[in-house]
């Protein structure tokens, strides 16, 4: 695949991704496989964007509850969040 070829031919320390969940899941696999570090920018339906409403919850990897995307994100190490 194009991305794998690019990663093998270039020194890439970190991949940033946003938008496509499918692509974020792919980055998560690359991150887990040690190919490159992945950072994902998440979206979440936010009512307040300030930490009042708890609306923009993103599930933590490993079942330890949720991050608030607005206050604790928007970006997370892709290994630390569940990509729905």
């Amino acid at each position: 695949m194009l991305l794998e070829r690019f990663l093998s031919e270039n020194k890439v320390e970190r991949l940033y991704t946003c938008g496509s969940k499918r692509f974020a899941r792919h980055v998560k696999k690359l991150d887990a496989g040690g190919v490159t570090e992945g950072i994902v920018f998440l979206e979440g339906p936010m009512a307040c964007g300030m930490g009042h409403c708890h609306g923009c919850a993103a599930e933590k990897q490993g079942g330890n509850g949720y991050f608030l995307v607005c206050k604790e994100g928007l970006h997370f190490p892709v290994s630390e969040v569940v990509i729905p």
């Binding site: 339906p45 300030m50 930490g51 409403c53």
Partner: protein, 303 residues
């Protein structure tokens, strides 16, 4: 000079405006848009005995004139709440109405006593009506369970207790009467309406927890009607809420019989709305030659 102060069970609020539970967290000073010291009271997000993560995303769906949420009541549990939050909430200045809930009557009483013992809350609000917990609604949908839990808590503590009721019932007056007989010092009317949104692309309910609670301007006339009805038959103060988006809405609730009002969802649309509501009530009273907000409580009931 207009007197905006109101009194609920011996607790004086400098004005009748407060945040609805779940719509207000303490932010660091530099992140604050609104100075909480101007409020009539402070209300925390409902606290449980144990920490809770609560419901899976998506938790919010915007609907016409409203917001559907299935957040539930995530929180740190009473111990961490007392250690990290309670002091800061009570130091903000206004009286603290501590919102709490339990999974059993005993738990309600236990949390109420723990909070009372800290001496940092002036009032307790029992959340008997969260539509997003498995059994959250049941306290406020049967007059027997409602009576049981409210009377147990009012016997367990000496702080005044407000019962927050659900609109998802056949007869709100019956529930309000039960809470009143059980010793509630005030009623908070109303919590969100249990509701649903469906994702037509995925052909399944939109929210992670299937159903949610509807709030926002869409429910204001419904909530207002409940306050009006309850005011006619129950003799304890009402904290009116449900879709208040500006001072005109707040004045409507007070004319319908609310002694104080709470602003919920609209804080998310306009973080300054509570300040605007306080200013608007003040101007309305001045322009209509009233000297105190108390003069207009329930005034819409004159025939």
């Amino acid at each position: 000079m207009i007197d905006l102060s109101v009194e609920i069970a011996g607790v004086t609020l400098r004005n009748p405006v407060m945040p609805a539970s779940g719509c207000f967290e303490i932010l660091p000073e530099q992140e604050r848009v609104l100075d909480p010291a101007i409020l009539g009271a402070i209300v925390n997000k409902t606290i449980f005995l144990k920490a809770r993560a609560d419901n899976p995303p998506p938790r919010i769906r915007e609907t016409p004139g409203g917001m559907l949420n299935s957040i539930g009541i995530p929180g740190e549990g009473i111990e961490a709440f007392i250690e990290y939050k309670l002091g800061a909430l009570s130091a903000l200045g206004p009286p603290l109405i501590a919102s709490l809930a339990g999974n059993s009557v005993e738990e309600f009483c236990r949390i109420a006593r723990i909070i009372e013992d800290t001496g940092k809350a002036q009032f307790l609000e029992l959340n008997l009506s969260c539509p997003n917990l498995n059994d959250g609604l049941h306290w406020a949908t049967s007059k027997e369970t409602l009576f049981e839990v409210v009377s147990a808590v009012t016997e367990a503590v000496s702080l005044p207790v407000a019962a927050k009721l659900s609109p998802s019932v056949t007869d709100i007056v019956e529930m309000a009467t039960a809470a009143c007989k059980a010793g509630a010092a005030a009623l908070s009317l109303v919590n969100t309406f249990k509701a649903l949104a469906i994702d037509i692309e995925k052909r399944r309910p939109f929210l992670g927890n299937i159903t949610g609670g509807l709030s926002g301007p869409a429910i204001k006339p419904l909530a207002l009607y409940y306050v009006y009805e309850v005011y006619r038959s129950v003799d304890i103060p009402i904290i009116g809420m449900g879709g208040i988006a500006g001072w005109r809405d707040a004045v409507e609730f007070i004319l319908a019989g609310a002694t104080a009002v709470a602003v919920g969802m609209y804080n998310f649309v306009n973080p300054l709305v509570m300040a605007e509501v306080i200013g608007g009530i003040d101007r309305y009273l001045a322009e209509n030659s009233f000297s105190s907000v108390k003069e207009i409580i329930g005034l819409a009931h004159r025939i």
